[in-house]
């Protein structure tokens, strides 16, 4: 039993709630090494996703992600807009018209999203960007699939790995994006894009029914 459009819509709605809840935290992180707009931008972007969801009801997970991609691309702005927009679009394309997403399809969609971000942003692991959350998430998802995990467990593994990945950005010196202008001074701060990625993937697992460790 895989995940359907209900999961996808729940995920996007929960993502919007998480971005609103963590708006100030993301702003603070971005203030240290960026231009302090990440929290604002992500919150605005996902509010736009919610609006689009009230205008039209997608009938497949892929369609839901495509709708989100358009909204994020248009409303997030800066570099995060094209990056997340591309990620959701590539994931949507990978899922195609499937109505029921199994573990392997989910892992493939996560990989497609990560590949889109890498293609767009030209960042590599270790550059202190959202790639440092996405790459371990994709690897964990693939390992879970290999071990026979179901779709929910794949998302849980991806979320867990993304959270660890975000923490590992703390000591890194930024080599991409606005933070790279700070050079060595970017070390000692967590990358806001990696944090938002971890929040979004955690929301995906929670929406799939995996118990949320953060709060009840």
């Amino acid at each position: 039993m895989g995940l359907g459009v209900t999961w996808a819509i729940d995920w996007l709605q929960l993502s919007a709630r998480k971005m609103a809840e963590h708006r100030v935290e993301l702003i603070e992180l971005d203030r240290a090494i960026g231009d302090s707009d990440h929290g604002e931008n992500m919150d605005r972007g996902f509010q736009a996703v919610l609006e689009k969801l009230t205008e039209s009801a997608p009938d497949t997970p892929g369609a839901a992600l495509k709708l989100a991609a358009m909204a994020l691309m248009s409303k997030v702005g800066g570099a995060a807009g094209p990056l997340y927009g591309t990620a959701y679009l590539r994931a949507s394309t990978a899922l195609g018209p499937q109505e029921d997403i199994d573990a392997a399809a989910l892992a493939a969609a996560l990989a497609a999203a990560r590949d889109g971000i890498v293609a767009r942003g030209k960042a590599e692991p270790g550059d202190k960007t959202m790639v440092d959350a996405w790459t371990p998430a994709v690897e964990a998802a693939n390992e879970a699939v290999a071990l026979g995990a179901d779709a929910v467990a794949v998302l849980a593994a991806a979320a867990e790995a993304a959270e660890v990945g975000a923490v590992t950005t703390d000591p890194l010196v930024a080599r991409k994006g606005r933070a790279s202008y700070l050079g060595e001074r970017s070390a000692g701060h967590r990358d806001p894009g990696a944090v938002s990625t971890a929040l979004l993937l955690r929301a995906a697992a929670t929406a799939a029914g995996f118990p949320d460790g953060e709060q009840a």
Binding site: M70, S74, G77, A79, P82, G85
Partner: protein
């Protein structure tokens, strides 16, 4: 059909100004500005960029679209818009300085170049190279070491001429664009005072004033046409006083 151009900038005024400038030199080329955010702030708007791409694709009617961008996330927004647009294979991003690249692209498009050659003309203008292009691309997309130039082998006809400038302003942007635009459409390798006759930037850099001389040397099938073309422009004072 003529290749259409799009300018993506963080600033609406930069985009519009660049379009205005290039339009002087490429009056028949459709150039679309996508600068700033929807609410007039500094930034790039995915929706504005995508809309400009679609308008440009419509007006180019299959001839293709070449895009010039300014800094950082403008490139990223443009790349994403290519992926989302209705004909990704028809939209080419040029890696070039915005203003110089746009002018070079405009002149190439005005001369009838295809999309790959228009992109090549823009990309040949390098950052920090005020002299302009070294890798000039002809209207058929051929590079100097490519096939088109081999037809201009030693046996090819040669023509030359010397013309004294009569217009008061001499060689400035518009005359340079008219010379380059016309020569780009001919099958000939042409130099003007030693620089590439199809490069607006190099011609402008000559800065020859009224009373100065243009020495045109052409080689290839259309060599005579090329020299005659420059003669006519000079004699007409480029349509100026």
């Amino acid at each position: 059909m003529t290749v259409a151009l799009v300018v993506v900038s963080h600033s609406a005024r930069i985009a519009e100004g660049a379009v205005e400038l290039a339009g002087q030199m490429a009056p028949d080329v459709q150039i679309f500005a996508a600068g700033g955010t929807e609410d007039g702030r500094i930034g790039t708007s995915f929706e504005l960029v995508l809309a400009a791409f679609e308008s440009a694709l419509d007006s180019a009617a299959g001839a293709g679209v070449v895009v010039l961008t300014d800094l950082g996330s403008a490139v990223m927004t443009a790349e994403a818009a290519v992926e989302f647009c209705s004909a990704p294979q028809d939209v080419l991003l040029a890696d070039a300085p915005l203003v110089e690249g746009l002018v070079a692209a405009g002149v190439a498009a005005q001369g009838g170049a295809d999309a790959a050659a228009v992109k090549g003309a823009a990309s040949a203008v390098r950052f920090g190279d005020a002299g302009g292009s070294t890798g000039v691309v002809g209207p058929d997309g051929a590079t100097p070491d490519g096939g088109a130039q081999r037809s201009a082998a030693p046996a090819a006809p040669r023509e030359s001429g010397e013309f004294v400038l009569v217009n008061a302003a001499g060689i400035h942007a518009r005359p340079a664009a008219r010379i380059a635009g016309g020569l780009a459409g001919l099958d000939a390798e042409v130099t003007v005072n030693g620089v590439d006759g199809t490069s607006v930037m190099e011609l402008m850099a000559l800065a020859v004033g009224q009373g100065g001389t243009l020495t045109v040397e052409a080689r290839g099938k259309d060599a005579a046409k090329a020299v005659a073309y420059v003669r006519r422009l000079v004699e007409e004072g480029f349509g100026e006083k």
